[in-house]
Symmetry: C2
Subunit: 205 residues, 2 copies
Amino acid sequence: MQGAILVLSGPSGAGKSTIINHASDKIGSYYFSISTTTRPPREGEVDGVDYYFVSHSEFEEDIKAGNFLEYATVHENYYGTSLKPVNEALNAGKLVIFDIDVQGHRLVQAKMADLVTSAFITPPTLSELERRLYARSTDKTEVIQKRVENAKEEIKAISEFDYIIINDILENASHRFATIAQAARLKQSHKELAKFTLNWRNSQQ
Amino acid sequence: MQGAILVLSGPSGAGKSTIINHASDKIGSYYFSISTTTRPPREGEVDGVDYYFVSHSEFEEDIKAGNFLEYATVHENYYGTSLKPVNEALNAGKLVIFDIDVQGHRLVQAKMADLVTSAFITPPTLSELERRLYARSTDKTEVIQKRVENAKEEIKAISEFDYIIINDILENASHRFATIAQAARLKQSHKELAKFTLNWRNSQQ
């Protein structure tokens, strides 16, 4: 059986990774999609774990060859999702989890709508998002303010998602996430449904 | 919090009631939508349990007053879903379960898409459906053949549903149904999302 896709979007600081890790024993075998980028690795980042790091010209060749499910330019660097590992995981029947922004979600929907379940993860309030971003104190104030402005834009797109997960209490958010992930696995592609219907109708004796 | 709607369709003999009953302790508080009909009660049928039985003129007055979520004529009798009990259950935060045909599903989607999750329940094959209909032997051969022909038409609409549940092994089908019902509860109406977004954006200090 074919796998399925679960798209997670939401502001940086919403707690997406924490929720996935907390629920990981309840959601079965999954593949967490790794993005490809032309941005240079930061200290501690590992190729094939944090990102696939490639050169500008490699990325552009892949664009021409139609190798991306979605891609975008951010601050003159390319970021994208390569189709190959996604298709391999889908063919192995895995749930493929994407952590992408609302634009990336639109592009994935446009190409693979019948495989996609999507959820927007957000802190309960904007002021709570700000508090968390300052508390983790890995970013400069101007970066945090940029993230907050992005979040105010992104949240306008929540009605495009199948579900929203309000990350107030981790236990609750993680339980909701596990339910959504289990349901996502039950989605069947139009191709599978067409095959099932054909066999079903032809089974009459 | 507002409730949600779960539409179940599928051929008579698919085992919808059996699956719901088997999973009922896992899906929390729900309201099973009772249809309104002008068909006379059969022996043993109870008003307000099996159907709401009304006269032809009462039904037509309700149509004019816009009191139906969906309705249709079958063999010169009206069958429909009254809005009032559905809205009451939704306002009480319940999951409202509908057992309606693919036409009814289209009408409910047209009016309340943002509240609806839908599943098509089917035996694994058409020949298995026939076998079950003959085995329960409550219907005449010509009624069974009519049901089989209906099923062959209805199954063409499965790609309109969010999920399909193949009722092969009851345990599995019931588990899948419970997951879908739990996910259905997490759906939030556009109205709720708009309110959440507004409050969220205005929370900045």
